[in-house]
Symmetry: C2
Subunit: 371 residues, 2 copies
């Protein structure tokens, strides 16, 4: 009989990266996971239902009335909290920009066989909940604690290993990043696909850290060895490289593509004349956006910036452009307060993580009035 | 200089169908459009944000306060309606199952280069609005009217043709199908991506008929020649065949895949023993679901049915299965009250429309307790 490892050692996990057309596995992932629509970047808060979704396994069905968050092993004073208990704690609402660590993977060459994102795995929501750090403190982590691990109710196989999705953070990270225990998104109870009834949000980090369907919190006296911590979400030079952890968001920007689209190529069409081009920029690691430039295929133009609502939300940028007839490749490039700037070409990573290279938009500008 | 038709005659429109890996265009469409999650079939009403989306162009930004629906040419007593006007009319809420005409396209061989859906382009929402037929009557269509055309605010290119998305229906279809002018979905104002502030819902038909971002209604004295009516959404034997219109939903069923998944292949794992398998079935053309069968790889088992809420919603089916160790391919098959049954293999269509062949789920059942 076939063994579990025959069945579940996926092609994506085994195969070396390569370019070329997309596989059945990649298409299946693309049909299941969903990104935002770039024209919706105009909204400060991504409309409900258009925030990107990267769901490793199945969405679990948890009962809001009976679900409890358990502080488990490694704590001196462990306890459980119901949703009502959590709602009775001091509440904070924060706009936070989340991006999938694999966003932009398709442009990293050769390409790893995983969710083939182009640009769309980003969104900003207003998350409501309570700060996590005081709760951790209340549970009295043992003196030898080195990491806190967060485990969701979602369970499945990846690389032949059965596990519930889990991720860890240090106590210092939990406090300094304002990690939030969240039960509402955009003023409504969390939707099932966004982690209902309870998740964490780790502001400024790529999305894998913001564990959904949160069920247990434990304190560990050695680094967490969960697959999603040590076996994936690492920057690696080759597939056997242990690598370094994927953590905070790299500086990045996107534009709302101007003009109107072609259905299948998504190439754009525009009439010549003055155009307002706009979009969003964001960064992690405690930095803010200091500059965004727009390139019309000829030169860089400096965009005007609108400060974000809060430390962890994206920045709006706007630039005036005199569109002249012809074919153009438009792009935009952000720089953050740490001095980091988006690269023009994707940097190599064996898993296609953290690609923050500039976006490219193909556009055809026609004389106006049309002839 | 390159011409518009060079730019916008898309590969998808030009190329003959073929099999093999997926193209950049197909992946781009798959990243932009989104399906439901099959485990969410457990919900009678698809959770907000998980109803499938097929968006031809960009989502237009329309102002709910100022947007009006205009009854235009071809009417003897044309008028305009604001959203407040429409809310003041008699209101109906109906659960309606919508499915994209291209759902299942990837399994039709050879494959057309368009949105490469597998199974996920289906959903059921509760739509609130007012019946359209009385409004059409009030606007007094001219005596020679043969069709009513509905035009959205979404505009772009397809097959080299610039147009706003439009579709037509006959007066008889509008009345007999209970076509609804809709401003709410699941008890909330329409989301931008679902047609805000106003759309139609054509119950029992594939989704292309349910025009979003509705702006104008006109009466025509000859059949509508819009690209989305005559140039696509036709069942065709080859790409130059004028074909026949895609209209009502073909009988179909899906299951919630049992067990837990592998991240990238979506193969399933389950421990041996009794399992409840469940899913949904639906059909158009005025028919209801009369039978659903579940196949465990050995034989067909008849499922129990729960009648739908309303004429146009899906039917729930449930079947008990004794899962025995081994690899299995599970499937389900519905029959409707017209006597139509899902085929075991996809039927050929040049555009991959209307594929209602049975779903297949790969599953590995292991001895329980695990050894």
């Amino acid at each position: 009989m076939t063994t579990l490892s025959d069945i579940f050692n996926t092609p994506g996990a085994r195969a070396d990266a390569q370019d070329g057309p997309f596989s059945d596995d990649e298409l299946r992932l693309s049909n299941r996971n969903s990104g935002t629509l770039l024209e919706m970047l105009k909204h400060d808060v991504t409309p409900t239902g258009l925030h990107y979704l990267l769901i490793h396994f199945d969405v679990p069905s948890l009962d809001t009335q009976t679900h409890t968050l358990k502080f488990g092993s490694g704590f001196g004073a462990p306890f459980s909290l119901s949703l009502d208990d959590i709602r009775a704690l001091p509440q904070i609402t924060m706009p936070v920009t989340l991006e999938c660590a694999g966003n932009g993977r398709t442009a990293v060459s050769p390409r790893t066989r995983s969710m083939p994102w182009s640009y769309e795995a980003v969104g900003t929501s207003e998350w409501t909940g309570t700060l996590l750090a005081p709760l951790i403190e209340r549970a009295c982590p043992n003196a030898d604690t080195v990491e806190i691990v967060f485990t969701g109710a979602d369970r499945g196989f990846d690389k032949g290993v059965e596990h519930a999705f889990g991720r860890s953070l240090t106590l210092e990270q939990i406090a300094s990043l304002d990690v939030l225990l969240v039960h509402e998104m955009n003023g409504q109870p969390l939707l099932p696909q966004h982690g209902a009834p309870l998740r964490i949000i780790v502001p400024g980090w790529y999305g894998m850290a913001s564990v959904k369907w949160l069920s247990t919190i434990e304190a560990l006296n050695q680094p967490y060895q969960g697959l999603q911590q040590v076996g994936t979400y690492r920057y690696r030079n080759h597939k056997d490289d242990p690598g370094t952890p994927v953590t905070s968001l790299r500086v990045k920007s996107l534009m709302e593509p101007p003009g109107i689209p072609d259905w299948s190529t998504r190439n754009r069409y525009l009439k010549a004349g003055p155009v307002t081009v706009a979009g969003r920029a964001w960064s992690g690691n405690g930095s803010s956006i200091s500059k965004v430039e727009f390139n019309d295929g000829k030169r860089w133009h400096t965009a005007q910036l609108t400060p974000p609502a809060g430390r962890f939300g994206w920045t709006r940028w706007v630039c005036q452009w005199e569109a002249v007839p012809g074919e153009h490749v438009l792009s935009c490039r952000a720089t953050d307060s740490n001095g980091d700037t988006q690269p023009l070409e994707p940097r190599w990573d064996a898993s296609g993580f953290g690609n923050n290279a500039v976006q490219q938009v193909n556009i055809y500008v026609e004389l106006s009035p049309r002839v």
